[in-house]
Subunit: 357 residues, 2 copies
């Protein structure tokens, strides 16, 4: 605390990201990164931008990211004016809370969801009301057909991994023509169907993606939003009042290369989905209840073992998973899908733990 | 305009950065980039981080940037807890406006200064009062010894290039023990003395630097703030409520390498200062009034030629400089210091223009 802090700083409870360990001998299944490297074309694109002396790095990047916007627009069959870029999807979400979700009525999001949402509300003074998921951790469409100042949810949801079918997403968007509905699709490439196809028909829909998961570029910080040009303009106005150049030169060219290699993308996400299916079965055999997941992680609990204790016992065996000390989910582990070898290491550690006292 | 926009979006007047042309046959003296490439160690560091397959890019960067903070702390003789990192100094400034400059009383900044400051005020609802520079565009210390909610100014000032001596900076900081005084030192390495040395003695002082100018890394987006640990904590709280990972992996390792090569840094900035001295004289010979500059640009006007017309005529001759349509300075050109060859191209174009009708 300090007399120099503004009022908002005193009230903040910042987001705490998953551990990024500085040692490398861990099986890291805690922050939903891809176990596979980015497309080889990413390395080529960065090397080309660097040239022989990195001289281009002395120059500012394109503040508007036109090449990247064009690439994204092409992939989704949209116009460049329907694309917004950010430094990871977290920055995109932050601008969206300030630009599009701050109105007179509270916004709605699930009671169990990405824990950054209430933090953004605190930062920008956005009122919110949480909507309980049902007993199987599914969203009920009718709960979102009530008066609100905006709606946001991840699809698939995090940390549950549960998917809302596209027709249900559309019913929520259609039922709220006077509110922005933000669908956070960080994990949609692992089994969901994107709401991006609905953008041309719904001026109130904003779809947010990241290159951190299915494109293996968490280290480069690129996210984007797709929506009606008027929604995008609001985001651009806030972005251009905050930081003209949030994406550096290497991030922009890496993102273009990653988005253009569809074959690599499909191979990696198919491998993740195949590993997920195998891990699902193996965890069930060990007695875990595993929620159906359309994401690159599973959410699972053991009927007889405490979630926090399991996470700690795995940590001792050099396997990192994520555990949330939150109501309704404190018995669950969120386990990122790694390689099959990562699954084996996890399962072997779990067998040892479950065989113990 | 749209019903979906929040109230703040309607009222914004975003910042407009200098043109980043997509063609390369221009003499680019409009956005104060270094004419020299970054240290060769930057290229090495990026290549090492990329490895043979860029596999590390699949992993999130260090959210706290500990290695970079340690490097900066060492260079300035401070503790890591006195260092804050941002995606360019613009992001650092944005967080500072929200975290440290929003109080009951208006903040103060010069009437002629970095034109992003009033934009930040609009974004966060910070009231401000501008303080006129004197007739030679210098700050008067006594003008900043009045009640205020905070003070911010660049030193050297932009776009004038004029330097406030360190003892005058200290008088302002000492006269305002109840306000944060933010000294924006983007250009200090080209002839100024940093206020960083005052940080241990003044808990109200925040000094902001960028790697975009004197470290030749505009393309990589790295800035930082130095200040008392309580000021830094306020910035960290806002940053961690906005985006956990604003600096990507390559930006962090490029910045460490650039900051560790002091010899390269000194060579480049000395060359810039030598070129500036030659350009000063040459512009004076052409009849320009040139303000004394401690930055990597000069601010100059011709007694008989309109500033906007000169900028346009230079643009036609493929030389980009910056012109501001603002009160008191609309007859000036802000000219970045490039190489000596860039100066020659500029001077040759100016001779042609001045010889014309």
């Amino acid at each position: 605390m300090s007399q120099f802090w503004s009022a908002v700083v005193h009230g903040l409870t910042p987001y705490v990201p998953g551990e990024q360990p500085k040692v490398s001998n861990l099986v890291k299944l805690n922050t939903n990164e891809s176990p596979y490297p980015p497309s080889p074309t990413v390395l080529e694109a960065i090397r080309e931008e660097l040239g022989s002396d990195a001289a281009r790095l002395r120059l500012y990047p394109d503040p508007n990211g036109d090449a990247l916007k064009a690439t994204i627009a092409r992939r989704f069959g949209l116009a460049a004016g329907q694309v917004f870029l950010g430094n990871g999807s977290d920055e995109v979400l932050a601008h969206a809370f300030q630009a599009l979700l701050k109105h007179d009525q509270p916004i709605l999001f699930p009671d169990i969801t990405y824990s950054f949402y209430p933090v953004y509300c605190g930062l920008y003074g956005v009122e919110f009301r949480t909507v309980p998921l049902d007993e199987r951790f599914a969203m009920r469409v009718e709960d979102y057909c009530v008066a609100n100042g905006g709606i946001i949810f991840p699809n698939p949801n995090a940390p549950t991994g549960r998917l809302l079918p596209l027709e249900a997403v559309e019913r929520i968007v259609a039922a709220n023509p006077d509110s922005v509905v933000l669908v956070d699709e960080a994990y949609v490439d692992f089994g969901g169907e994107s709401a991006a196809a609905l953008v041309p028909r719904y001026p109130n829909l904003l779809v947010v993606h990241t290159l951190s998961k299915s494109r293996s570029l968490a280290g480069m910080r690129v996210g984007f939003a797709l929506g009606d040009a008027r929604l995008i303009e609001a985001l651009e106005r806030v972005k251009n009042s905050f930081n003209s150049y949030p994406l550096d030169r290497l991030a922009q060219c890496a993102a273009v290369a990653a988005l253009e290699d569809e074959a690599w993308f499909d191979t990696c996400r198919n491998q993740v989905m195949a590993t997920r299916a195998r891990l699902d079965s193996a965890l069930a055999e060990l007695g875990f209840e595993v929620l159906p997941s359309a994401a690159n992680f599973v959410f699972a609990r053991h009927p007889h073992r405490d979630g926090a204790e399991l996470a700690a016992a795995l940590r001792e065996r050099k396997v990192l998973v994520r555990h949330f000390r939150l109501p309704r989910i404190d018995q669950f582990l969120r386990i990122t899908i790694g390689t099959d070898a990562d699954s084996e290491a996890l399962l072997s550690a779990l067998r040892e733990i479950l065989a113990g006292a």
